[in-house]
Symmetry: C2
Subunit: 233 residues, 2 copies
Amino acid sequence: MPSSPREKKTRLILDVAIKLFSQKGYAATTMDDVAKTAGISKGLSYFYFKNKEDLYMAVTKKAFDELKGVFREIFKQKGRNGLEMLTDLASSYISFAHSNSMYNDAILNFMGIMQQYTQEENHGQIHPLILESEHFKKLLDIHHDCGKLGIQMVSQGIKDGSIRPELQPEVTFYTVWSMIIGYERLTGPVAYEDKDIKIHLDNWKPGFIKLLQDMLKGTIQAQKPQVVQASLF
Amino acid sequence: MPSSPREKKTRLILDVAIKLFSQKGYAATTMDDVAKTAGISKGLSYFYFKNKEDLYMAVTKKAFDELKGVFREIFKQKGRNGLEMLTDLASSYISFAHSNSMYNDAILNFMGIMQQYTQEENHGQIHPLILESEHFKKLLDIHHDCGKLGIQMVSQGIKDGSIRPELQPEVTFYTVWSMIIGYERLTGPVAYEDKDIKIHLDNWKPGFIKLLQDMLKGTIQAQKPQVVQASLF
DNA sequence: ATAATTTATTGACCGCTGTTTAATATATTT
DNA sequence: AAATATATTAAACAGCGGTCAATAAATTAT
């Protein structure tokens, strides 16, 4: 890791951006702000990053790098079946999103852009500079890598019998992923008291995880989970 | 419905905003744009709406009104069990979001704001003018109404035996709601071709719905669904 | 070593856009 | 008809993203 002076300064700006976005949010953070905090002129920021969105995409890439790390960490641990992996994934993502809500926002934002990107009719709504961003292209790949890892977890679960066999791994994973993403969007707002119906959702998570597991185990309780790797212990 | 001249002009601006936001997106639509298209001066827009975000909140309220309509429509139909209602809800929301992606964006955006709103540490990140917006307060209520209707659907399903009885309606509904919200965020991006793993998700929806139903029916297949109301036909 | 060229860096400036405001016209009430 | 409240406008303001010409620093070539 030689880390050229150029890379160093890029990182400096990036770190400042991460800090400020976390503190004040993306919209409320100005480019003057970033430059000032980094101790450089505003113009120089635009030498290292094409524009504000490009900087945000760089931050988003950082977020996805960490997310992919979570996926890989879970996947590489031995002695656990697919169901346990996916349970862990849900749990870990929730922790991840809570400990770093700015990263979560960035990920969700990117998914929104991707959605428009894949819908012809709304293609033009995306700021053209985003699509040119090098980071954006990389992000498409990283996102896809996460998907592949998740699908492999489901496949693993089907093999080891912890997940019911008739499911299609791709469909199943993305359904699980939907749940997780959606949970994060709702997890705060739902804790809203009411007179008519008592909503006790301070601890919604266990019920959520339970439902997720039941969905994966399925209606047929026939086959017993057989751990593929007893391994190591 | 007297519809005073003031209400009329408010509606006019709102309709123009809906049209422009749908065409160009919220960010790319300027207030000059809105005013010009509505045939009024820009300053007048600020007489009817506090600011741009307030206008967006008004648009978001329209979106939630329609959404609540979907919830109520499904709930009031007789002769259907809870599971069918929730299945229909998922299906209808997906259609709703596809036919009007701007409304979907507005709803998702609002959920993001709510999330920050309920997290003390990020409270300050919300633009203070949003919280002052009359529409924002109303939105909190409408969102809650939707939640109540959804919870009642689950309760109904437990009563009529179409949903497994040990579930907590609140937790279950919000888990279902998470799935739906998450699905919409992912539904485009996922259709991404790959060499290693073939992902055929052009028609992910049926699998998604199937998993949702299985989750609700649960592992115990014992009791047969008994339709509560045969009614009317 | 020195010239030439590429890479960093600055600060001033531009234009757009959300927002405000003073002035004014129109409608409503007294 | 006066007084008051409601609409409406045009101009101006301020902040921010983004650009650019000038220049300094570093690197390469001669």
